[in-house]
């Protein structure tokens, strides 16, 4: 049971990065459907940066773990952030349709990732030692039994994800920056009238959100899979679903991610036929639909999506 829960928390990290990033973006009123593609790009960016760093060592087993982790994260954030910048340029500055732009970015990101992983496979490059660095955890994890395993046995990225989600939650709810950002997502005209720089907020929220989501992609590469072939985009779509599940709150996204991870893991743990397994895999999406139905029936203002989500802001359109 403990190991099952541990796995849920660990695997939920992927979703947590994606959903936290997406929540920050959506709070600014932009529905970024490019998140799956951006996570793919983050995976590529992080790995490329680490492979580049690894190549500078004659013996990769002697790499300093801290440097590998930081370089990987920065690489992922940079590439994913650039994709976010592209998205915001199209939707904020050029006022393109958000859904079309997002889907285009997703398609692009998946394409780049497929191409890159084929190349890596063909070249026979292994990032085994990079994975070893990311897997490092608290030394006490093994010594204090199940309790230690449940709380201290994860890699850096899991703790970072939790920290980011909680900080994001605090900033959104308890600071002026969060207040201004939420106002932009709700009613940009009102925010504009008070002198808030809407364009700047939207850009920062989108780029930062994308960069955070990108780390999620890196996590897939260095902790989840052992080959380069992994469908990061599938995790990305679930992350977008978790945003709805957690009613646009990063703190609830922590729980949402774990719940989705459990649902994802059940099929691999229970012995069932292939058909039933596929049915069980559907559960997260069904749950998302149910949550959507429930929040629209409750019709509580606080659990609704940001009011102007998906609508580009045009000052002249008074």
């Amino acid at each position: 049971m403990f190991s099952f829960l541990r796995e849920a928390i660990w695997f939920g990290t992927v979703y947590l990065y994606g959903s936290t990033g997406e929540i920050i973006t959506e709070k600014s009123g932009h529905l970024n459907l490019g998140i799956p593609g951006i996570m793919c790009m983050g995976a590529v960016g992080g790995c490329v940066a680490d492979i580049w760093y690894m190549n500078s060592f004659a013996d990769p087993s002697k790499m300093p773990a801290g440097a590998v982790i930081i370089i990987g994260i920065l690489g992922a954030m940079l590439v994913a952030g650039l994709m976010g910048l592209l998205y915001s340029f199209f939707t904020v500055s050029l006022r393109c349709n958000q859904n079309v732009t997002g889907l285009a970015i997703t398609t692009f990101g998946i394409g780049v990732m497929n191409y890159w992983s084929e190349r890596m496979g063909a070249k026979g490059i292994s990032i085994y030692w990079v994975r070893q660095c990311f897997a490092q955890t608290f030394p006490c994890a093994g010594t204090i039994g199940d309790f230690g395993k449940l709380f201290f046995s994860y890699g850096t990225l899991t703790y970072l994800a939790l920290a980011i989600a909680l900080i994001a939650s605090f900033v959104l709810r308890r600071t002026r920056i969060g207040l201004n950002l939420r106002a932009i997502g709700e009613n940009p005209a009102a925010a504009d009238a008070t002198g808030i720089n809407i364009t700047a907020y939207k850009y920062v929220a989108t780029v930062l959100g994308a960069a955070i989501a990108g780390i999620g992609g890196l996590f897939c590469m260095v902790e989840v899979t052992t080959s380069f072939q992994y469908s990061v985009d599938a995790a990305g779509w679930l992350a977008v679903a978790i945003v709805i599940f957690s009613v646009w709150r990063p703190s609830l996204a922590v729980l949402g991610s774990m719940a989705f991870a459990i649902l994802y893991y059940i099929p691999s743990r229970v012995q069932v036929d292939f058909g039933e397994k596929e049915l069980i895999k559907m559960i997260p999406y069904v749950v998302t639909i149910i949550v959507l139905i429930i929040i629209s029936i409750l019709n509580k203002k606080e659990t609704q999506p940001p009011q102007s989500l998906g609508v580009n802001y045009f000052r002249e359109e008074r």
Binding site: R176, R182, A190, A193, K301
Partner: protein, 564 residues
Amino acid sequence: MDKKVAVELKNISKFFGDVVANNKINLEIYKGEILSVLGENGCGKTTLMNMIAGIYFPDEGKVYVDGEEVVIRSPKDAFSYHIGMVHQHFKLVDIFSAVDNIILGEKMPEYSIKEEAKKILDGDTDKDFKVRAKKYLKVAGLPFVKVWKWMKFNYLSKARIKKIQSIADRYGFDIDLNKKIYEMSVSEKQTVEIIKVLYRNADILILDEPTAVLTPQEIDKLFAVLRKMREDGKSIVIITHKLNEVMAISDRVAVLRKGEHIATVETSETNEKQLTEMMVGKKIDLNIDRAEPKNSEDRLVVAHLTMSNHDGIKVLDDVSFTARSGEILGIAGIAGSGQKELLESIAGLNKLSEGEIFYYNPYKNNEEVDLRSKTPIQIRDLGVKLSFVPEDRLGMGLVGNMDIVSNMMLRSYQKGKTMFLNRKDPKSLADTIVEELQVSTPGTSTPVRNLSGGNVQKVLVGREIAAAPTVLMAAYPVRGLDINSSYTIYNLLNAQKEKGVAVIFVGEDLDVLMELCDRIMVVCAGKVTGIVDGRTAKKEEIGLLMTKTDFGADKEEEKENNDD
């Protein structure tokens, strides 16, 4: 009272394309006074005030604040000169509390490390090393102080409520600051907007039609608060068209008409009649043809129509009238007096709480048809030939991204019997309209959005007339149109009248109404205040009916007379 000028406008002009919204306006706003800016709709009063508040930028003229020339480019600039405006449409975030809406977008007070360092090191002649070291240490710590201050400013602590509460208490606002906006009434929302402006240290408050959405009791409360602000030395500008309120609250009145500043008078030295005359002006001859109605018979009878909006305010209150065939019935009134709701109710777009609408079908020996609570399609299926030219041309009337032919089809596509659309008939209809009404367009396949306002209107009116209506309703059909296009529309309406159509024309220009219409119904705040003959009515008479408010106002007038 010692009068000091707070804001002065000199020769301010504003143009929207060819339209002159404000023409060389001179106006002074004094400290500690309540100034009313009075005028009909479209006379440029909101435009003028928007230029002080930084929404628009004047094309000509100068603005002086406290005697100094200033340039106001944005609401932020306006705030820096202590000018704040409460707009007619509130700009509030629904899910935030009042407090959060008020502090939204507030900037951190200036904190310059350079300045602070200067303060510490200034006059530093101390030779004692220890003292000097301490001072430099302090300077080194300044960035941290700044970060700390920034963090403290950013954190939404409970203390933020205190300052706002003190403002509310000072002026006697009665409001729960933790209440969410979506739970608030219109009057509470307005209070939040006013506190928001005061919180930003505004000394000059501009209120755009503040009483339009309030009940009489709420208006009294608002006026009490405004008087308190005046005692506090603040200047208050109220944009309004309600004469009784002008008389009740203001010290001076500035009257605008068609973009021109007519006069500014002391309230105590004027009366409602004089103000009305200034507001509507002398009658101008427009030479619009008007034939005598022929063979008039009742076509549409509306009785006791009553309807409330979302906020529970009655937008239509016991409206009764008859539209006759071969006649143009004009509807005059300040915008938002219920004209839109009335026409939409007849067209079957609104749910009524009370009242009846009967149509008499000329093709079936004037058989009576009940139109109440029918959808537009039901109305059509009953054989009622009703055409509606709505106020919002590209929103309700036409689809902007579709071409002229497709827009013609919106009215006819359901007639088709096959699954394929018949584009032939609409195409020939579109060609006819383009040719006969001289719509200037590259072709009938041009998206309607790309046409100018006048041509869009011609397409819409043409389509509605092509449906051979027996009742034609047109809301502000000439709004935004140039003179020639306007006359084309007038002629079209007249032609329909001669064909025996019952035309209902909602207009804003009294001169046009008085020359085009056979009868004019005047509405005010959802009520019919009178139906006059278009040939004999006086402009001032209509003007007074348009601003005639309920009994409460009459009482106030009586009281004032008694005081005299």
